[in-house]
Amino acid sequence: MNFRRLWAIARKEALHIRRDPRSLGLAVGIPLLMLLAFGYALTLDVDRVPFVVWDQSGTPQSREFVARFTGTPYFAFRGGVDSYSTLEHAIDSREAMLALVIRPDFARDLDAGRSAPVQAIVDGADSNTAGIVLGYTQAIALAFNQQLALDQIRRRTGLAPGTGLDLRTRVWFNPDLASRNFIVPGILAVIMGLISALLTSLTIAREWETGTMEQLISTPVRPPELILGKLLPYLGVGLVDFVIAVAMAVFLFEVPLRGSVLLLFGVGTVFIVATLAQGILISTITRQQLLASQVAMVATFLPAFLLSGFAFAIANMPVVVRGITHIVPARYFVALVKGIFLRGTGVTILWGDAVFLLGFAALMLVAAIARTKRRLG
């Protein structure tokens, strides 16, 4: 391998990038937009669930029960209804996700120590959210019952009883359980994979399409010089993207970056090299720009989005799919980025993922170099 030839290729490629401001704009703009879109829109938090109440009881007790819903940020009161038809309409029109129906004898039953049925109707169209809403509702009902029981005991005995088991939870790494903290580092990894593969998927294919490849392979330039020379300037672009993305995560989305910045950029560089090489490999195989960019999209974005564990927990996947995730490089990068961002984990724990990424990068480079034929046809 000769560095002068490698450098000549790298310089030429850098000139191409500079002369094509539109592509450069896309290379920086796409990750920026995607991060904004996903960071703001893709939230798994369920709060401000709209609900309506048909309070047939209209007593202090029933109002006390409803107040438990209006008093939390998880529910948003959308008014009262006075019939099943208006209640149905509220759910059908998606004005409300939850409707509570309190019977006329609610207060009387409670005072008499009888159980007082309350109906909770939940819109189950989005099963995940419905499940969470049900959970909230049950928790509020449970707390209401507990308070009721305590009040009764106090009234009867005049003593304040002990409350039994007292669970004290402490959530580590993401104490607010903000899904953004969990999504942003993941989507950052997914976006980096997509953009780097897209960047390089065009390079070799373009040379084939314009005919410059035929000229190039008639010269003494060797495949490693060609591949590494082409990779170098795009690594620069990829790192700029990565810096922007990390800065956005930290300053705009306020995701805590607890681990080593150096380590983050170290594994970032390895991942970018791996996916850049993957893009070049695709380019050498397809020899067509359009096809190459489409293949790059499908080959990097889809598995990274679905199988990396960035949003969908790998542990919940079927065994076969879980097996497949092991060959998705984004899986390891997502684990690394989340680990460094949220847990502040160091190399001692993350080295396994890092080694896999290194191996993948090496494999992609070798494959791209091996696929670079110096013959036509």
């Binding site: 450098w7 191409h16 035929e214 008639s218 010269t219 013959r375 046809g377």
Partner: protein, 326 residues
């Protein structure tokens, strides 16, 4: 005209070279040698196998069978060594459009590892040779066809290769630029560079020291342009200046003394074994059909006559062979 080189050492040698693409034989058993320092031309219609032959010699394609050497190196095993000793200009313009003239030169000067001490001089030489000194900072895409060709040639000879392969270098450029380009080829040849050039322009092939005529993957004639005209044209070529030349062709097809006819400029060329009797027969036949004839006379055959005659002979032979096989 330049005097032909006296050196007889062969810089390119090829024996029974074949290249098949599936069932199609692009190059079908070609043998020839190119002498050091000569301008060697390959003349033939599109699809005759000219580009494929050049690509085989440059190591861009692997032959199906046969063998050859370029600058003493095997075209299958030693392509690496061949690459440092050749300059190649592919048929398609293949410099980078978005780069400036100078950046393209710098790129190839890096690829060919021109020593730092020589770099500036080589660049100046290319700019001067191509007449691009004033346009050194222009984007290559803005250059005219002739300038692009000269720049491509300059980049292909930056490393001063002893042999230069040019694949239809002048296709698609205006006649004036074509002439200028050939002046450059002569300059390079004058410096001792061997030039292997393909073309489908008849008048260009006359500029070559030696010429191979290729047709359907086969080399059907090889020699100096002048020799080709005399050796391969034992028959006489007659130029007929008459009215309604296409009608005249139909008439002459029935005249036994005339072997073949072809439209040529405003008139006709006819090939005949015996010029004197044919002239009389032609005049008689055309006058009988009331086609006015201004002139019928024997001329020195052009390369195009040779080419047409060779191709027709080849097709006749191939046809006869097929008949025989049936």
């Amino acid at each position: 005209m330049r005097t032909a080189p006296t050196a007889t050492e062969n810089i390119v040698e090829v024996q029974n070279l074949e290249k098949h693409f599936g069932a199609f034989k692009a190059v079908a058993g070609v043998s020839f040698a190119v002498r050091r320092g000569e301008i060697f031309g390959f003349l033939g219609p599109n699809g005759a196998g000219k580009s494929t032959t050049i690509r085989l010699l440059c190591g861009l394609l692997t032959p199906t069978s046969g063998n050859g050497t370029v600058a003493g190196f095997d075209i299958v095993r030693d392509t690496e060594k061949i690459r440092t000793r050749i300059g190649y200009m592919s048929q398609k313009f293949s410099l980078y459009d978005e780069l400036t003239v100078e950046e393209n030169i710098d790129f190839y000067s890096g690829i060919y590892r021109i020593p730092a001490a020589k770099k500036a001089a080589r660049k100046a030489w290319v700019l001067e040779m191509a007449g691009l000194a004033a346009h050194r900072s222009s984007r290559t895409s803005t250059l005219s066809g002739g300038w692009k060709q000269r720049l491509a040639l300059g980049c292909a000879v930056l490393h001063e290769p002893p042999i230069l392969f040019l694949d239809e270098p002048t296709s698609g450029v205006d006649p004036n630029s074509r002439r200028q380009f050939w002046d450059l080829i002569y300059t390079l040849a004058g410096q001792g560079v061997t030039v292997f050039v393909t073309t489908h322009y008849m008048e260009e092939s006359e500029y070559c020291d030696r010429l191979g005529i290729v047709y359907r993957g086969e080399l059907i004639a090889l020699g100096r342009p002048r020799d080709l005209k005399t050796r391969h044209m034992t028959d006489a070529v007659l130029e007929i200046d008459c009215e309604r030349p296409s009608d005249a062709m139909t008439v002459l097809a029935r005249v036994p003394a005339v072997k073949e006819t072809a439209l040529f400029g405003k008139g006709l060329h006819a090939v005949a074994a015996d010029a004197v009797s044919a002239v009389a027969a032609i005049r008689a036949a055309l006058e009988a059909e009331r086609i006015p004839v201004a002139r019928v006379e024997r001329i020195v055959p052009t390369l195009e006559d040779v080419f047409v005659s060779l191709i027709e002979a080849h097709d006749r032979a191939a046809g006869a062979q097929q008949e025989f096989r049936r």
